[in-house]
Symmetry: D2
């Protein structure tokens, strides 16, 4: 199999993807996985663009065949090239500058070492931002072993920097499927060290431990899972009565969701369109399919830059919101002929059909912000009467027999992941959420968490937010005793009921 | 108790609601009635400005002492002057134009008469908008008897118009407390007719039936309650195990909440400030205390008009949202000296203290969008060293010994209710929600609802929204079968999980 | 003839108005006058809403028939009631608070008394704001005699306050035409005092002096004129070679224009619509005819509040701007059926025709922000098949035979003048501009100004702006010597070439 | 001399332009060429990013040494490689899709061939967009000879495509200075063909003809010049009484200015910052120096994306505009410590000094949108105590001894040219303006234009705008005869007085 993992949310559909879709009982924005037999979809947002700086070394030797030792004398790791450690360290230092929440957490919690005794096995994208998380966990007392959740996303020099300071890391860019599982196994299966916490992104590590090391699995104190897919798998395990460990779903925390969707997409729609097409936004007619958080972000930004935006919706409440926000609510077929840009953000499939593609005007740009690659019926465009012309990376012109061109971005995969970058600040939100979830599960008194999947407690969600306020020089107001009593609140939060809509 | 209750802007937390009700000394166009010990707070938002057009007839005779007969020959009503019916009819017709959702509901449901057999006793503000609701209920098959939830808010001519077509209405503007309970009693206690549904706004009617007619209460099929206070009382009854009837809390429906708070306040903050002060918004320094839905609405509007807005918050998540939306997050004391306008939207008390009022600059405008009259410490301003000067209706200058003036609006009561109007469209949302809640409770199969307080089912919430889309010429998209299956959704909704944040 | 002067820009059209329109060679935003034989149109924006607070005293005696003496013993004035002086003084004091630029000018220039020797005869609206201007002129050394430019706009108590401190004022609310000219004459024609400066608003005073007192006219050092009409008359005089005095057109100063049009209308469109119709802006379909400064202000505000706005234009450059700002550019006939609100801002006539009124949907609101009352063909609505129903002050429902209602505001006159107020801050800009123009003309060295009409020098325009910056706590940056040299600028301005577009 | 010249953003004030030209040491995608003593600055905005697609062929032979023949048998051209013509043709075809105004102009004017007889010698950037212009001129009847105004900006394949269809083109990417003048000379100095029109960008061609071929120069019917520098040189010639030919300054046309500055910068500030730094805009504190059109564009965009923006200004009118638009007006030194981003748009020098750079916080981003490279005192940063680290193309970290990093973009050169692209639509505006100016000058009746520098007539400016309206499906309204008469306008424009501010 050539491609195991695509990049982040933006995954390649395998032959049997359709069959697997039925497992998705809980439709969400960030979409469901398309599963290969054994590797699931990792988190959508923690895959930094920084990976692009990674060297494409011409060293063809597999890291598994190399003998490498770090300056501490250890060889308990497997990375591309331990000598890149210094360059990786610099990348980590730069990332630290934008992740002051984690640095602040290190300082606040370092004295008490809340993770002393924690033995964490982790499987995430390995980037400079992850390294800041990992080194925070270590600073708080944890022992860690780490591997990559994606065969392409590892920054080799960062992996080297982590190995250099003694973290057993098993990951490199361009792993084979066999390498992938070998690395996971090397993390888990080591003498004299048994993991008691799991930090996962996609569920592969959890799955591996569950299947191969059931005795380890049973003794784990908690699992923290970030991705939609991994969370879905945990809910399935739980439903099947096989989840014998408390797990925390950090994907659905309020703060993370707002940043992954509304705030991030508000910027990345502009960035992605500019980098690929150099389009001028002013005066452009744009239809955005779906007015959820992603759609709201896209619409806000485009309207602000002078585009004329209309939306399509299936949900009357969201449609009414769109009305009140100043967007016409239309059916796609009513407007498709006039549009300059068509953007999908529904999480659904075949939102843009071949029939609609046929009716678009010359030069219409089509792209997807919402879901793997199902929203635009790209397959229907791979037919003999149409000519594909790649004009830039991620930009194809599909040419109709009459000369009409439709500009398809990222082949219908996620524009924001393919053609723009995720700001470190967003990754900081996620990483801080993960760190707090680990601390919470590791320190929770017996009985607080059962063998089930939990959302991050609101108070921790609030704490994540509060750790990021100094970035904006934002000053919180404290309740007086009298006010707290009047509101029936604890002065330290949580401040809102669980169902509060923000 | 599990139930925290008291969400939304008009949150009230207290041991016994009655004691805490504040006494509005200065009834205003939109103000609440002056409360007796046992009259609680009705909804704040369904009270139309239209009341201001009501004649202040010089007829001093109490309606209770008049013998009136409508043209149908009935005298089963008590209104100010049945002869005003024609004028009231015209008001109702004008209101109908902006309440097409109810008219549409009449048409859709008229064939099947979903309220045939329903005997509804209602206690609401009596305005043209309520009349449209009431006549809708009648069109759908219900028999209704009606009274007012507020001693000041009745539009006499509308009451007359309803009485004229045969609806037993007992209400007039300027009732005494005794009148108030007499009217309620006349609605409930009538020979040969026993209510099986209650539509209440404030809980007074419910309370009366519960206390005085327990046998009627037990046979009621359902209660629909709109106000925060009434809902609170229902939760208390339920908690005490005394609620023997299913009740529906329509206050917290998604659609209603968004319109009552975000959308309505986005406009009314501008309207209220302009009507009272003729302020120019451009360049004004404004601090908004609280970044919930009301605060978000205020901030959005003021920023759009060129004001420089900063906010205060106690909740770090809301504070982070404010940052991302481009507002500085400050403590009030840091900025109070520079501000041109101070707006409270917290639902808390003493958010603006005397100390802060002392530090405001000359000409600073202070007003409240958030909660009855607790947010600004107005009481502290009623001290001998300060001079109050009323410069317009709802506008006081408080003058410090050094000549500094602070401009206090509506004496710290709700600006949007005191100094602006509620658009009929918002009232239409509420009325439609009430109608659907009545239909749902009346027609629900045995067992769907227990003796508890329920939120409006999401599907009905969506239906309310969909009935209002034609106002905007908005066209919903329908899921294909394939798409519905892929999403795991019913094509007719509900489309979102309950915890969806919109 | 009963009515000579309407209110401000918003004038009554006389029978022969059409004939006179041809004089308007220079179409401008604020529109051309509609002339009665002898009284022209005064400034459009200096007519404060404050006039509405003026008492409508039941004293029917004409002021001309009353003997009044102020406390200084002088009777050289004619006002409604000198005893109202104290109340007027308070109004002036309140106005001073928002006119700090003039107060600041007083302080800066008081030592040097730049108007010492100036004998200014003035004809303006007489409001609290004008009084602040007038008292500033006095503080700077001028002697003043004053009258009203509009028979309705005088605030009697303010006139009294001015008379009380010794300013010869001849004005009251509700003058007859004869009174009007009598008052002007009393200002000019007084023994032992000969005006050497004229401050005019509408050109009537200038015309009177020119016609009746040519010898005075020739010795005047300068005329300052604020209104479009007055400026037009001056240009005509100049063209005819009859202007023997330098005149300054302060109507077209950059700062004044921006505030009168863009900034003011951005707020007043919302205010005017709310006060008259209580409309909810969110989701409303609005067409704005004309995308000049007024149109830009209206569009910006409505879009920001969630309306869906399209525009009509005749000028392709403005149309292209509208495109880039995100507004669809349409012909009115294309969209008229769908619109909820139609707003005219063109300065042209018959922009909304009867045919288009016939095609509007039920409930459509029609109003004018642009020009006296020519933009909407209101005359065409005064036909027998249509019913007019006045539902509020300034709000008429025009009812078609099929029951359709069109909501006409202010009978097609200027919405912002009829139904909202002009903020004192805008009046402060105007008054400061007038004061500086007087100082400039009075002090200019021989030869700087010829017998022509001049625009305010850019440097003075900049100075007006700078005097208003403290209101916003705005801090200007100063050029270094090196920077000034590099830019070829004087460090004190002017900073831009004359044609700069701002 | 009182030199007015050089307004707008790219203002240059100096005694002799040549001495002051800055030397771009690091030619970039969009950068200007490294200038020799006599090569002046060409237009900054017509230089398309498309150049980046140009091959960097390894063919080292100078085009001057190659013998090339096109398929028509002609060798009257000199390009890198005539065989690239087909690829260039495709580039031109793609550009045509976004330049429909020119295509439309071709169609409208093709019958009458308004340029029949015109012999145009041109010196511009040679890109696909220029080719569309050039082929339009040919379609309208002109004969053209062409060369490049910049030694780096030629797209070789486009030059080949032009040569292939028979246009004598002399240009390639990477010319030496000697090549540069040789190419210009080959354009002008050819047997049997004498130019009668000049289209210039930077003034070098004009200078060459003026100096070397004075007899040709005298017979030229008109010069069209696009760049600030070229326009400046023309004004100097004119002032010196040496301009014997009418010249048209198309740089200052309304439409071009609005697009080059406001509309273009509104988008490119976001694009440039994202591509270089991946910054998240939400919540960032930004100071924009200068609130002219460029500053307005930057501020609007950043505010819309959630940044908190303040501005600095020297001009009180612009400062007051900033206030009314909701931006705090500050001195740079007051806020410099808190800023996340500092952007200069003043056209001045040393706006950001070393002292201010010293006070910036860690991670502060500094960039220039306003003027070549004078606004930020970059030279002061090249001192031994500071370390420069290039972290990406166009991104340097300047590191202070204490570890503080300031992020400098494009070494202080124009961000929008260095780090983002100019949309084809903007280039279309410019090219259409040039074409119309050529038509106007070539066809103007004797005497309409003297030996002076003219602005594009407003009517033509309006025509440029109107040709671009179909891109937005915008529909202009036509004046009725009655309306035109009322307004005193010709129905076909011009619609505004020259001083109108748009």
């Amino acid at each position: 199999m050539a491609h195991k993992h695509g990049h982040g949310r933006d995954r390649i559909q395998f032959a049997n993807a359709e069959d697997k879709q039925e497992f998705s009982k809980y439709p969400t924005k960030a979409g469901r996985r398309s599963l290969s037999r054994s590797m699931s979809q990792s988190s959508t947002d923690s895959y930094s663009s920084a990976a692009s700086y990674t060297d494409s070394s011409d060293d063809e030797t597999s890291p598994r065949d190399k003998a490498q030792v770090n300056t501490l004398g250890s060889s308990d790791f497997c990375v591309k090239n331990i000598k890149q450690a210094e360059f990786g360290r610099r990348e980590i230092e730069i990332a630290e500058q934008d992740m002051s929440a984690l640095i602040s957490l290190r300082k606040r919690a370092q004295g008490e070492k809340p993770l002393a005794g924690a033995k964490i096995v982790g499987c995430t994208h390995i980037t400079a931002q992850t390294a800041v998380l990992l080194e925070t966990l270590v600073a708080l007392g944890a022992q860690c072993r780490w591997t990559a959740c994606n065969i392409y996303s590892t920054q080799n020099e960062v992996a080297a920097a982590l190995a250099e300071i003694g973290v057993p890391v098993f990951a490199w860019k361009g792993e084979s499927e066999d390498d992938f599982w070998w690395c996971i196994d090397r993390c888990v299966n080591t003498e004299g060290w048994q993991a008691n916490m799991i930090l996962d992104d996609g569920g592969d590590l959890t799955h591996w431990v569950y299947k191969k090391y059931p005795s380890v699995f049973k003794k784990v104190r908690g699992i923290v899972e970030e991705s939609v897919t991994g969370v879905h798998r945990l809910y399935q395990l739980s439903k099947a009565g096989k989840l014998c460990v408390p797990a925390m779903n950090v994907n659905d925390s309020v703060t993370k969701q707002k940043f992954d969707n509304l705030y991030c997409c508000r910027e990345s729609i502009l960035d992605g369109l500019k980098r690929t097409t150099d389009i001028m936004f002013g005066g452009k007619q744009v239809v955005v399919c779906g007015y959820g958080e992603v759609g709201k972000g896209c619409c806000t930004a485009l309207k602000a830059l002078g585009a004329i935006v209309c939306i399509t919706e299936i949900d009357p409440i969201c449609a009414l919101q769109a009305c009140m926000d100043g967007f016409r609510v239309v059916k796609l077929s009513e407007v498709i002929r006039q549009m300059d840009v068509v953007i999908t953000c529904t999480g659904n499939k075949n939102v843009v059909t071949r029939e609609q593609l046929d009716r678009m005007k010359n030069g219409c740009i089509v792209c997807n912000m919402g879901h793997s690659n199902t929203e635009i019926d790209v397959a229907s465009l791979r037919s003999p009467e149409l000519t594909w012309e790649r004009v830039r990376s991620q930009v194809d012109h599909i040419i109709w027999p009459d000369g009409k061109r439709v500009v398809l971005l990222a082949e219908g995969r996620l524009l924001n992941l393919s053609c723009s970058t995720v700001p470190t600040f967003v990754l900081s939100i996620t990483a801080t959420t993960q760190a707090l979830a680990l601390i919470e599960l590791f320190n929770a008194p017996e009985g607080r968490y059962k063998q089930d999947v939990y959302l991050l407690p609101k108070k921790m969600d609030e704490y994540v937010a509060s750790l990021h306020l100094p970035n904006f020089d934002a000053h919180l107001t404290e309740l007086t005793d009298e006010q707290a009593k009047y509101m029936g609140l604890n002065k330290n939060g949580p401040f809102k009921p669980n169902y509060y809509r923000y």
